[in-house]
Point group: C2
Chain length 335, copies 2
């Protein structure tokens, strides 16, 4: 299987009867090429099935039009949605993505990955860093290209740009919505607290409850899964349910609602439930779930915009996107 060498500019040039540089000019839309010459070159390109070698190009231009993305590779809704949004935005800006996932985000693994991306001459790096561990790993890393991290600015060293969804405000929004309906006891089922998102939502819940003078309710910890949500819900049923529950994401809310349903409690008649994420299907839960929607598409565009700005020499920036309340039928006035 002797793989034959693919045609290069020189082959095209020879066939078209011009110099390789003229071919280069045609490819780069240089103005001063005679239409007739251009046609001849294009013809030769088509005939040979020529394709520009981007490695060679990158070597001399130092531009790759590639952005590296590191995610923690979880199949969870948030990180995944973020990735899709970033991909889309990058493509629109003419960039290709080099994707890399890290299972366990140890500092060593992160460094290896960053190293690999840098070797690829990526022009910038996006890091989706929902866990504390990732952030820790980043602190020690010195990087020659701009980095934008999807994480709370407060968690990151000052010299790194961030774009974040306002998790604290998310918590506040949930509490405010429930409080406005008249609830005075709002329980919170948090996500795993090594996730900054979970901490932010928790923080928002706590501070807004305090600000509104609501009755304090002990925190309940969970992971992000609907299964665990169900277990927590069952515990809650046994221990006595508050009038309102703020679940850290829609999956937890889903599990909790099933636990309530099985216990004969009706949502929102007996208990109000609010989630976060607005996952596909949330509108068809029983009952349709009131939740807090995050603007992932806008976030993706913002991340890429920030990164491109940084590539062009802009300063560090920290952008925070506001969450949006989506009222459906799982929240109502307390009985």
């Amino acid at each position: 299987m002797a793989r034959t060498r693919p045609p290069g500019m020189n082959d095209v040039a020879r066939l078209a009867g011009v110099s390789h540089q003229t071919v280069s000019r045609v490819l780069n839309d240089h103005p001063s090429v005679r239409p007739q010459t251009r046609d001849r070159v294009m013809e030769a390109i088509a005939e040979l099935g020529y394709r520009r070698n981007l490695a060679a190009r990158a070597l001399v231009t130092r531009r790759t039009a590639t952005i590296g993305v590191i995610t923690s590779g979880s199949a969870l809704f948030g990180p995944q949605r973020a990735f899709v949004a970033i991909e889309e935005a990058a493509r629109e800006a003419g960039y290709i993505l080099a994707a890399a996932t890290v299972k366990r985000p140890t500092p060593l693994a992160m460094n290896t990955l960053l190293d690999h991306l840098l070797s690829q001459n990526v022009e910038g790096i996006v890091i989706i860093a929902p866990q504390r561990e990732v952030i820790e790993a980043l602190k020690s890393f010195e990087c020659s290209v701009p980095v934008v991290v999807l994480a709370d600015a407060q968690e990151m060293p000052a010299h790194i740009s961030t774009v974040s969804l306002d998790q604290v405000e998310t918590g506040r929004l949930a509490v405010r919505h429930l409080a406005e309906l008249g609830h005075r006891e709002i329980a919170h089922i948090s996500g795993p607290l090594d996730w900054t998102d979970a901490r932010g939502r928790l923080e928002g819940w706590r501070s807004e409850c305090e600000a509104l003078g609501l009755n304090p309710v002990p925190l309940i910890q969970s992971d992000w899964s609907s299964e665990r949500g169900y277990e927590v819900g069952c515990d809650l049923v046994r221990a006595g349910v508050p009038t309102a529950i703020f679940a850290a994401n829609d999956m937890i809310a889903l599990g909790v609602m099933r636990a309530l349903y099985e216990a004969g409690l009706r949502v929102p008649h007996d208990v109000s439930v609010i989630g976060v994420d607005d996952v596909p299907g949330a509108s068809q839960f029983i009952p349709p779930l009131t939740t807090i929607h995050h603007q992932f598409a806008r976030m993706g565009r913002q991340i890429i915009a920030t990164l491109l700005a940084a590539i062009n020499g802009a300063d560090v920036s920290n952008v925070v996107l506001a969450p949006e309340l989506v009222v459906r039928r799982s929240t109502a006035e307390p009985r």
Copy 2:
């Protein structure tokens, strides 16, 4: 901001007092380098913060350790899960992914994208092609590197390798499960029929119903969304519900179940419902959804394995992965 040239092998070599080739040998773990020399080189590398330039390396070796992936970029569960699985498998095999999404998979867009990936010297290409249109576009494309398509082998030209989840068997499995419970009238709510997955499931439903001699039931078409599932469910309630419903995915099933619930019909007491995908949360639907699980992780590994084999000269192959029934509580014997 005069971006200074990053250090190259020559810089390292000079600092370590050796030739650039020795540096290369150290980097490539060549056996015949004196430990002492190696140390000196490593030291110089660390001091300069040197990183190998993969573009230059790719230029001469013609190897990039990169695999191109094209997805239709939908945020739907299947394609997305497939991507994550592929990424993971590729990483394990030491490959990086170059990701590209296509919104509207026209032949032109597909060709542009493939072109771009080939220019990047990817060593192979994976295409997640759930829609017919994508497949059409592929038929006309001549490609210099191996391609593996995630699609039914029957839909693809014979010279292209495929890995697929057995959608027909998925439909059969659903029908068989319901028939074994005693159902004689099994309705199917299909996905959009320009998706091959939807057609496969439909085909499995139809053929198995026929094989088992069940009463024919008219097909109901839907898209993949839970919202549309709900609408279809409402229609069904109005027109009269069968004893069992096979929804083409879990989202449709979710919407249908809500429609049934609101109409006072109980699942599975009055109607059995089965879905496909086993999405996160399906175990906590009301009631927990019986569904058909697809082995995405295994599929990802299989795709990469097939691709690597093809890169090493293996023949075209078509692998089909079997679906698995997950029985929960939304299916039962008919009343």
